[in-house]
């Protein structure tokens, strides 16, 4: 049975940090171009939800049996993060949801587990990548997420068939981070390079053999990995020079950590013609190679938001706000009482509303948000667009990043909800403006992340 990729999507957050603005404040660092910055109300779980929503949309009719979630930077330890994604996607109770977290390699690991497994897997990876102020990681990293739907050809049309792979694992110290620390530490770069390049060559050769191909038959390559020099060196040795997918994203997006492999593969698929042979190479504590052949189904695929379009969009964020959002610049909190932690049992009773944005309708068909007791019909509204009926800016309310911009939104198909806006510049908000919903973290209290939906301008 042929197995491969049935759906793919990446999510890049709205804000962009201009690396040239870093040195003036940090005293050094920065560089050219921009990097993506997650909103103060985003974490790896919420970004994962956004990518997964689009990936499932792109794989119409394919229902996952398993959900994998990978990140270096999980919102929770002990508690599984994949279950919040599972809830936001409204997957069935019988669908498994598991984290494969903690290392950059976990992202490609989950993908390989899905590729070699059975059934339909939704493989979600997300990262929120930080380094200390003025360091090279701060500038080179980015925030974002990507999700791939891995399925058998029987489950639905595959965008690309898996045709081979190879791997090489080795224990050595190149990059490491103590859990909870804001920074990674790295060994002298040259050492890692001498490990990664041979590992990459070995895995590459194994992959070609398994697919019955020679190197010249590989049309396009995406190389992911936190070691920039090793990635460039391997690309060169494989004969691709700087013509590998993702080389151009480094300047505008940055390296997405555990989400980098799936994001690059998504970007490659979004511009691939049928028949193209694609290679995904990941250099992280070893080397992993996946070879894919793009199918005819790719021509009917219309991604909702391509990586290229998202990379070109966005709005700037100043370096001070970036540091504030990351907790790297401790600032005076608002002089308001902090919000109370959400109740686990109350949240448990309203999972469909809180995570799934499911309203209700009564006999008259009117949609109620939140659902109204006595209404008989569930109405999923997370994918509905809406129109701003009126709005306000609240400079008094508690917010992790004041002011709160808030709108009364009338949704297409019925229903009204007064809801917070996000990713918004106040000057762009107007009565009549169109919005869509996005899964966010309202605040964190007592270590509990209060997930719910906000609206953002379309």
């Amino acid at each position: 049975m042929t197995r491969g990729i049935a759906g793919a999507a990446a999510y890049l957050p709205h804000r962009r940090l201009d690396r040239a603005t870093i040195a003036a404040i940090a005293g050094g660092g920065g560089g050219k171009g921009t990097r993506t910055v997650a909103g103060y109300d985003e974490d790896t779980t919420t970004m994962g939800v956004e990518a997964a929503r689009d990936a499932l949309r792109s794989a119409r009719g394919v229902v996952p049996d398993l959900l994998w979630f990978s990140t270096v930077n999980p919102a929770y330890a002990d508690k599984t993060n994949a279950t919040a994604i599972h809830a936001a996607l409204r997957l069935g109770r019988e669908v498994g949801a598991f984290d494969a977290n903690g290392s950059v390699r976990s992202g490609v690991g989950a993908l390989l587990a899905a590729m070699t497994g059975q059934g339909t897997h939704l493989v979600v990876s997300a990262d929120l990548r930080s380094g200390l102020a003025g360091g090279p990681d701060e500038a080179a990293f980015g925030d974002g997420a990507a999700a791939l739907v891995v399925a058998d050809a029987d489950d639905g049309p595959l965008l690309a068939d898996a045709i081979g792979g190879g791997r090489a694992t080795e224990e050595f110290l190149d990059r490491w981070r103590t859990p909870g620390e804001a920074r990674s530490r790295v060994w002298e770069e040259r050492f890692g390079e001498t490990r990664y390049v041979p590992l990459g060559l070995a895995a590459w050769s194994e992959a070609l053999t398994s697919a019955g191909l020679v190197a010249e038959q590989v049309d396009r390559i995406a190389i992911a990995g936190p070691h920039g020099r090793a990635v460039a060196a391997l690309a060169k040795q494989l004969g691709f020079g700087d013509r590998h997918v993702g080389a151009d994203l480094a300047g505008s997006v940055g390296n997405l950590g555990a989400a980098q492999p799936a994001a690059l593969l998504t970007a490659a698929l979004e511009s691939a013609p049928p028949g193209q042979v694609l290679a995904l190479v990941v250099l992280a504590d070893g080397a992993d190679v996946v070879l894919l052949r793009v199918t005819d189904a790719i021509t009917a695929w219309a991604p909702r938001r391509t990586v290229a379009a998202q990379a070109a969009a966005g709005a700037p964020i100043d370096y001070g706000t970036y540091l504030r959002w990351r907790g790297l610049l401790p600032v005076e909190p608002p002089r308001r009482p902090e919000p109370a932690r959400p109740s686990a049992s109350a949240s448990g009773r309203s999972t469909e509303w809180k995570f799934g944005f499911v309203g209700s309708a009564g006999e008259d068909g009117e949609v109620h948000l939140p659902p109204q007791p006595g209404d008989g019909v569930d109405v999923p509204m997370a994918d509905a667009a809406g129109t701003i009926a009126t709005f306000t800016v609240d400079r008094l309310a508690y917010s992790p990043s004041p002011p709160v911009v808030f709108a009364v939104v009338d949704f297409d198909g019925g229903g009204r909800l007064p809801v917070e806006l996000t990713d918004v510049d106040i000057a762009n908000v107007a009565i009549g403006a169109r919005v869509e919903l996005t899964f966010r973290k309202l605040f964190t209290a007592d270590g509990i992340h209060n997930y719910f939906w906000k609206a953002r301008l379309l």
Binding site: P342, H368, T390, D394, L396, V408, D410, G415, R416, E420
Partner: protein, 399 residues
């Protein structure tokens, strides 16, 4: 079935009201003692003469013991009530109904709030455990949405509407400057108010009620007994209450230019009191000016003027101290601040002073020369989901 009211069956025979202020040196108990002592003295009774008590406090404590302890009441029924920002009015409503029912001869309604012990500016609600999806906007921001909606519906340029809102604040500060019990006693010009920075929508802090500690109390008895206690009682003409069902938040037809709960509440009150033309029949009104756009819309919802005309009437001075229908002659929430449980009774205290011509000369309204009714209006909540209270009080008893 029907809302019949208790017109002329109950009278207020004594009242007390503390100064509303940041009472750093007074606790809840002190405020309760001060307000009740003044009310007892006003009615010429002692705490033992009062048969039952209703205590309104939103966050001052649980149960009637919050009042029974500082007053050292012996064997008295004391009920603590809460109905958001209409809590003080609710206490009076319960006490009045208890007396009207014949259950008690003499009852007291007390309202109190000690807001300034929280350590934060503004009013802060008790967090009820929830799923965390509730809106967390401030009341100021919720009410700020009324201004652009009103401007759009009636074609009022936003600059002009802001001047109207500033005029409401300026008018209430003018009145409050003439009231020794008010928290803020400085006149503020329209120009000064317009120059303030926006904090919520187009509202500045001068569009918002202040925050203060305070207490107020009223003694009520059956109307036929009123002259045992005072020569000039205030008769209860109407007590009306509506608790909204929150549909305004979810109904796309709601446009933020009116508060339907208040329209319904006012209609019921006018029917109870037999009022057909409130603008002409009322000598004054105390309304819940929590934010300036609230007072704007209230003028229409309470039937003081036609829809879409309040902004012009305000500019023309219709609701000024010397206007056609003085609104908030005591300075309103704007000048007093809003100790939640006390505000409803504070409004009645102004009716008590004005209708009985006991207000200081510089604040005494002249409409009482030929009118003898006052309205108090108290609300809690936000546009789209609110509770509303309306009372009509008068000096003349019919029948």
């Amino acid at each position: 079935m029907g809302s019949h009211g208790i017109k002329d069956r109950v009278a207020i025979v004594g009242m007390g009201c503390t100064r509303f202020a940041e009472h750093w040196d007074k606790g809840l108990d002190d405020l309760l003692v001060d307000a009740t002592e003044e009310a007892f003295g006003s009615a010429g009774v002692t705490k033992d003469d009062v048969d039952a008590y209703w205590l309104g406090t939103a966050q001052g404590g649980m149960s009637g013991m919050v009042l029974a302890k500082p007053l050292q009441l012996e064997g008295k029924p004391v009920t603590r009530v809460e109905n958001m920002c209409a809590t003080g009015s609710e206490a009076l409503r319960q006490a009045a109904y208890a007396v009207a029912s014949g259950a008690y001869d003499l009852a007291m309604a007390v309202g109190v709030e000690k807001v300034k012990d929280s350590g934060y500016q503004g009013l802060n609600a008790f967090p009820v455990p929830s799923d965390g999806t509730q809106r967390t906007l401030t009341a100021a921001a919720m009410f700020s949405m009324v201004a652009p909606a009103y401007a759009a519906r009636y074609g009022v340029p936003m600059d002009e509407l802001k001047a109207v809102l500033a005029r409401i604040a300026s008018k209430n500060h003018f009145n409050g400057a003439r009231n020794p019990r008010a928290q803020f006693r400085r006149e503020m010009s329209v120009e000064q108010i317009l120059a303030m920075p926006e904090v919520a929508g187009c509202l500045s802090v001068f569009d918002c009620a202040g925050v203060a500690d305070g207490a107020a109390a009223a003694v009520v008895c059956r109307a036929e007994d009123a002259h045992r206690y005072t020569d000039s009682p205030l008769y209860v003409k109407a007590l009306s209450f509506v608790a909204g069902n929150g549909s305004g938040l979810t109904d796309p037809a709601y446009d933020y230019t009116t508060f339907p709960e208040i329209v319904a509440c006012a209609q019921d009150a006018y029917a109870q009191a037999g009022i057909t033309d409130p603008r002409a029949e009322l000598a004054m009104a105390e309304v819940h000016d929590c934010f300036t756009p609230t007072e704007l819309v209230l003028m229409e919802d309470l039937g003081f003027c036609e829809r879409g005309t309040a902004w012009k009437e305000i500019q023309a001075g219709a609701f000024d101290l010397a206007g056609d229908l003085p609104v908030n002659p005591d300075g309103g929430l704007k000048s007093f601040g809003h100790p939640v449980g006390a505000s409803g009774l504070r409004m009645m205290f102004e009716a008590w002073l004005q209708l009985r011509r006991e207000a200081p000369a510089e604040r005494q309204i002249t409409t009482v020369a030929d009118r003898h009714l006052a309205l108090t209006h108290n609300l809690g909540g936000y546009p789209g989901e609110m509770v509303s209270f309306v009372s009509i009080l008068g000096t003349e008893r019919q029948g």
